[in-house]
Assembly symmetry: C2
Homo-oligomer: 467 residues x 2
Amino acid sequence: MKPEIRTDVAIIGAGSAGLYAMREVRQAGRSFVLIDHGPLGTTCARVGCMPSKVALHAGRLWAARKEIAGVDGLDALSLDTARLWAALREQRDQFASRPEKAARSMAGDFLLEGPARFREAGVLEVSLGENVQIVRAGAVVIATGSRPVVPAWLATVAERTLTTEQLFELPVLPKRVGVLGLGAIGLEMGLALSRLGVEVIGADVANTVAGIVDPVIGERAVGRFMREITIWLGREVSVSTSGDEVLMCSGERVARVDLLLAALGRRPNVDGLNLAAAGIEVDGRGLPKFDPATMQIGALPVFIAGDATGDRPLMHEAADEGAIAGYNAARSDITRFRRKVPLGMAFSDPDVAAVGARLDQLDAQSIVIGSAGGDSNGRARILGGEDSLLRVYADARDGKLLGAAMVATGGEHIAHLLAWAIQRGETAQSLLQLPFYHPVVEELLQTALKEIAEMFSDGLPVGLVRT
Amino acid sequence: MKPEIRTDVAIIGAGSAGLYAMREVRQAGRSFVLIDHGPLGTTCARVGCMPSKVALHAGRLWAARKEIAGVDGLDALSLDTARLWAALREQRDQFASRPEKAARSMAGDFLLEGPARFREAGVLEVSLGENVQIVRAGAVVIATGSRPVVPAWLATVAERTLTTEQLFELPVLPKRVGVLGLGAIGLEMGLALSRLGVEVIGADVANTVAGIVDPVIGERAVGRFMREITIWLGREVSVSTSGDEVLMCSGERVARVDLLLAALGRRPNVDGLNLAAAGIEVDGRGLPKFDPATMQIGALPVFIAGDATGDRPLMHEAADEGAIAGYNAARSDITRFRRKVPLGMAFSDPDVAAVGARLDQLDAQSIVIGSAGGDSNGRARILGGEDSLLRVYADARDGKLLGAAMVATGGEHIAHLLAWAIQRGETAQSLLQLPFYHPVVEELLQTALKEIAEMFSDGLPVGLVRT
């Protein structure tokens, strides 16, 4: 038995949230240990945001060959997906090496590479090979991330089922892929694969893609993406093996594919932590109850951050949560922090994005909706985004911006402007006072705002105010 | 002699500024005439923003073929620029038909198609074929736009010199083009042509491109674009014909090209207006003196807007100026309006952009500069923008944002965020409280802001505030 380690803060997980927590603990001058069972490197960099964006970019470039007038010789062009995917892994490895290096260099000797579980609220057991290391900490930060859900009904096709943990390791891309789940991850990867020449059938029990709640945007998005992939919505899918193939069935629809990509959500990695021993209260899903303003679990000296919460599985939220958890874990007084305006997107190009309040969180009688279509936006038309659609929700009393949903070329950029505007309490009228260059996709927002602002006109030209 | 027309407002020019002016005059319920010598359709749509963006987009897509790992058969690929340019014109015509239709449908019988000149401040002569139409107006709006400068020293090579008025009419793209002037227009078109396979030599007497004043950004931009086009800076260029070629010389540098593109600036179309007859005071360049808050010329019932001012030759400024001029021309009281934060860019991909105060307008001792390079931004690296560079200028006392310059992939989007933040009086610290998604090029701004915010730390985690 190794001697106990006594430290101010123990951080379980060296991913995005854990590294942000570590930074705050160091900043506060507290001692800490960082515990990770490996592999080091964040979910984002290893299997999430980064390799998916590499794949999406490659898909976009490859698809672009057909979008240029006057090109001859296209038939002779081919894509070797083995080389492409190898190049993707090389770039991915560069991304993943950064957080790994950060963990090793910042934690140094205080990095314990093994799985941890609670013995008590402030006491952890860390398995280091044959040994068990006891860590007695003043506070603990749980930043253990999440893993893809692979439900039991996929067991019969397990050999032909991938998650994003394996997708980027494929030696070559298959001819046909079935994507189960069309949330942001399933939609992104389905489109990337399709643009790289894979035949894709995407299915979801929900009636929308990328989690879009606004039915008008959802319908537009589905219509747009059906031009690239087959989409089955609103029904359960059953799968079975048939020789070397996988049979996908949904109602009367049948498809044969070579592989399945399970994109059915991610589960927080908290089931192996022995939460009960720490006196941690959990909800119906087995997830700790915590306060999003402090990241504290109950009144315990235990904090949680990032995907482990099951709350906002987004890198920029994980960064904030890690910082809040680390800040509070390093101090005796608990500070409450303001969280940012909700912002979620799929980089599906056209991007699907939702900002602020969702349509189903608003009272239809109390809001006005301004909308703008890509056919009215010159730049969007040039970029092939004429079927973009943006809907902005504003308070019917004063035009104050509440939320928005869109499927739009350059939507990721429009979504940032909207998130900032909503967090700042801008109205449609006030936002039009700010410059919109020309010709930019941001003018889509200008058009939608004008529709709202007209209802609150002060008689002055739109967007202009007296000095 | 036709009978005089008596009207409340005469608007000379049916371009962007003129159409915005007309809208305000109609809104105020005043009578008006809209005068344009043709062709109808705005500079932006006919020969400016729109066809240039079509060309840049095509160039980007065509250049992308070499940026995908694993592609075979590239040698067999070719681009027929005759078909490409014809497709560009088709798209351009669609863009140009919109403002033309707007002018005809909104002005109706009050559209006079001929050149106008002043007889007195409120009296215009409009030549309509053989006839002269006298228009007696309560107020006049000058929105006559601008034309490319073609200096006298180009007379000897006139047959081989184009401006953007002719560029898009070429039946096929030449092999080699010399671009004279590397402001935003010259840089954009030089890069578009180069990406479409034309060998481009760009020259400017200035030591920068796209008018960038910040020397660090200027140097980075020049270094980046030299990878695509030959760039000669800081010296006069002489040109002469030599058989079927044009010889370009600058110091010891010599190049032979097939055509020259003169991108040496644009001159306001006010020289034919007989300004003196209206009692209009002009500056050393022969341009009317006006108040940018009212667009009024002196105390006359004459207003000016858009490129005709020689002040801010940008579509979104022309829209504001047209609206201000029209609003004031339609009323007896003059209203002063606040103008927007300066925002200028070249869509050069990486975009060159300047926002707010320029570096040479700031006192070096009173500011702090935050910077961020594309190599630190994951998304920029994926998009090939690792040599992006952003510099943000803030007040050294409090971190208040004053201006920025950049050469950056997605710079057009970053520039909008910055322009809005500057107009709203945000500091680096306050701006970090707003969400930055991941992985986005906007995080380049986040990185630059953090460098500034560190100097004003309140001890809380960056970007987080107490509830």
